[in-house]
Symmetry: C2
Subunit: 173 residues, 2 copies
């Protein structure tokens, strides 16, 4: 399966596409950040993010989209813009009928590093190893987007196995 | 001028259209709330809001859109959903090239009631009087959307006069 991970942000919105399945090597398809300028009106910045995400969906045709879940307790100076950008990410995916999942930062850290408290450097190092890259993707938002996509494939795989077991037992998932 | 006011919210998103200009009676064109169900996925709820707002813009063709500015210090249990809904409101307007303005709750209260600390009942009563309605619009989100549109027309009018005065004085606004 091919997953677009989105680390929402107003100044830098990380986007990364990973392909693969549980138990097999994962492949980096592409990674980048969509940037908007603080000198622009907030509405225009969100339109830039919307257009950027639409372009990624058009180009890479993912099977699913994974977005970082934003919490109110995060850094309050940027949290509103981050929440607004996350809303755009959710809408852009959902209006195409794509499955959208939210993963918390702790879930992502735990999935890629084994610890929910891993720091950015550890996440970057694990993403580099999992995708067999030469160096950690920069900036951190790009690495985070890839970590989200990896998490989604691995968690999705687990969920798919649970659903299959339930179906085999005669229960609807 | 015709203004669409949007009071963003995930469960109830207030929408109200007001027409008029500074110094003349304002007219209510329409008011309602776009509702989404908490049982739906957040991404689908945002798509419902996007479609609802697009339908209002299609039907009423406003000259400008006024959206309530959301602050991180607001009620934290719903603030993320409100911020995400506000992001959708900004994008839906801006991608049509419509002017979008953000007004704070204090600015709206001050504009319609003369006090930045007016309560919901006072705002509802002033909206009723300003638009010569028989009763306050219900629910409060609907009245708030109208108050935003009224604020925008009155503030926009003041700004237009300042710009005109600056232009007459040979200075670019």
């Amino acid at each position: 399966m091919r997953v677009l991970g989105i680390d929402p942000g107003l100044t830098r919105c990380g986007v990364g596409v990973v392909e693969g399945s549980v138990g097999r090597p994962l492949t980096l398809i592409d990674v980048n950040v969509i940037r908007t300028s603080a000198s622009e009106h907030i509405a225009q910045r969100l339109v830039t993010i919307e257009r950027g995400l639409d372009a990624w969906l058009d180009e890479f045709q993912p099977d699913a989209v994974a977005v970082e879940r934003v919490f109110a307790r995060s850094d309050s100076s940027t949290i509103m813009g981050t929440a607004q950008a996350s809303g755009i990410a959710l809408v852009v995916a959902a209006r195409r009928g794509l499955p959208v999942a939210l993963h918390t930062p702790s879930e992502v850290k735990a999935a890629v590093s084994g610890s929910g408290r891993a720091d950015k450097a550890q996440v970057g190092a694990m993403v580099t190893r999992i995708l067999r890259l030469d160096a950690p993707p920069k900036p951190a938002d790009a690495a985070d987007a890839l970590a989200l996509a990896i998490t989604h494939i691995w968690r999705g795989g687990a969920q798919a196995r649970i659903d299959a077991a339930l179906a085999a037992a005669g229960r609807r998932p």
